[in-house]
């Protein structure tokens, strides 16, 4: 299978995260294995942060104790912790050169036969929810293109996680959902205002909103809110005008 095909499969699998008896751990496990195959590295794993900001190993390309221990050792210091805290990728880090920085982790990783590591942040906009850890038995094994691929896979993992976040993190998803749902309601309210104001259909009202937001480079939801409350900022949209090709009566 080519890299493109493998990538495509990884992305398609993300759609599975939206169905009911989907298993997030299994998904992350598969993703970790895909990283290993795609990036031609030796091992990969994902760490997620709990509510107190502590990282926990969640899935790895090989569920063996030795590899999992390498994650445990990063609680106090390690590339995952750095990526998690800074939100920036840790790339092509030579274990030997970083022994002072991550003493316990570097020693154990080297003993396991690894030479370099990478940690890519799992980001949701400005929030980092964890990190994707990559282990290599060679130095400088990842090119820029590889890093981009790795980050794309990390992003895929984030989507999958947030689609199926467990009980304790349901809050994040709920908050996102509530905001999205309420934004939708505002748009419906705005459609009604425009439909009545201009004697057009609500669908035509939506088209007005969308066209206006595009040509004025504003967010649709912001424009909709201004229209719904009939704020001065929506003056142009609410001003009296006639429309062609509609069923509007001349008032």
């Amino acid at each position: 299978m080519t890299r493109e095909q493998q990538l495509a499969e990884a992305f398609v699998e993300t759609a599975d995260t939206l169905v009911d008896d989907f298993d997030v751990i299994e998904f992350l496990h598969t993703l970790a294995q895909r990283c290993v195959a795609l990036l031609e590295i030796d091992a990969a794993g994902l760490m997620l942060a709990d509510q107190r900001g502590a990282l926990h190993a969640t899935a790895a390309s090989a569920e063996n104790a030795r590899l999992l221990e390498l994650f445990e050792l990063q609680t106090d210091a390690g590339p995952c912790l750095d990526a998690f805290r800074t939100g920036e990728p840790v790339v092509n880090a030579d274990l030997h050169a970083n022994e002072h920085k991550w003493p316990r982790f570097a020693e154990a990783a080297e003993a396991a036969g690894y030479v370099s590591v990478h940690a890519l942040p799992l980001r949701l906009r400005s929030t980092v929810i964890g990190a994707l850890n990559l282990f290599c038995s060679q130095l400088d094994s990842l090119s820029d293109a590889d890093i981009r691929t790795g980050q794309a896979l990390a992003d895929v993992a984030t989507i999958g996680i947030l689609a199926q976040r467990n009980l304790h993190q349901a809050e994040l998803l709920t908050t996102q959902l509530q905001t999205a749902l309420n934004s939708r309601v505002i748009i419906e309210q705005a459609k009604g205002v425009l439909a009545e104001r201009h004697r057009i259909t609500v669908d035509e009202g939506f088209a007005l909103l969308r066209d206006y937001s595009r040509s004025n480079n504003r967010l649709l939801s912001d424009v909709a809110r201004d229209v719904a409350v009939r704020a001065p900022a929506a003056g142009e949209l609410l001003a009296a005008r006639t429309y062609s090709a509609t069923s509007a009566d001349a008032d």
Partner: protein, 238 residues
Amino acid sequence: MTAVLALLGGVGARERSAGLASPGAAAAAAALGVDGIAAGMGTGPAGVVLAWGQQETSTALEDAHFTLGQGPSVEALADGAPILVADLAVAVARWPAFTPAAQALGVNAVFAFPLQVGAISVGVLLAHRAVVGPLSAQQLADALALADAVTVLLLHHAAPETEAASTSPGMPRPGWAAPTTYRAQVHQATGMISVQLNVDLAEALARLRAHAYAHDRRVADVADDVVARRLRFDQLES
């Protein structure tokens, strides 16, 4: 929580102003596993008036918000999204004045829910607990359902001429026209009515609901008529 929502349906204006809504609020708090819960009305600079649930700590928390100008309720209103803080200890940087004030009241977890229907914002619901920890998925779902019901309650509270629609004996509970039955047409009709009557969205929705109740019809059905232009609110007999 269904029992709590039924309790809400039986509360009239007189009971609310006398603070007798407390039984409903206490039951709601128990259902959510929190120590207290209250809804504040009003979102402007005049501050938030506690309109439902008169528990002492809730009142003190609302005062803190108003005095300090910060806190989960302020943020929930600004963001239009729930603010869920399972452990206030991590919120010191976020609310440098509110957090210690809340902790001094023995509060260590706060959950704020904006009371809104789209661009209609009537206030915020605030739950608090001394014990640290998140709401469970079920409690969170219940809290959102409660927020929806209280939103309807406060909606009519703010539009006195429609009060009858929410407080008459035998009147359907606030859940009767709950957001799960709010199809898109209801929100579109709200917008249309606000233009027809030249009123804000909150009053438009209250009028829509009151009309449905007065004519023993479902809100969604009346909304359909409005959107299809079979019914205009500026042509109704008063």
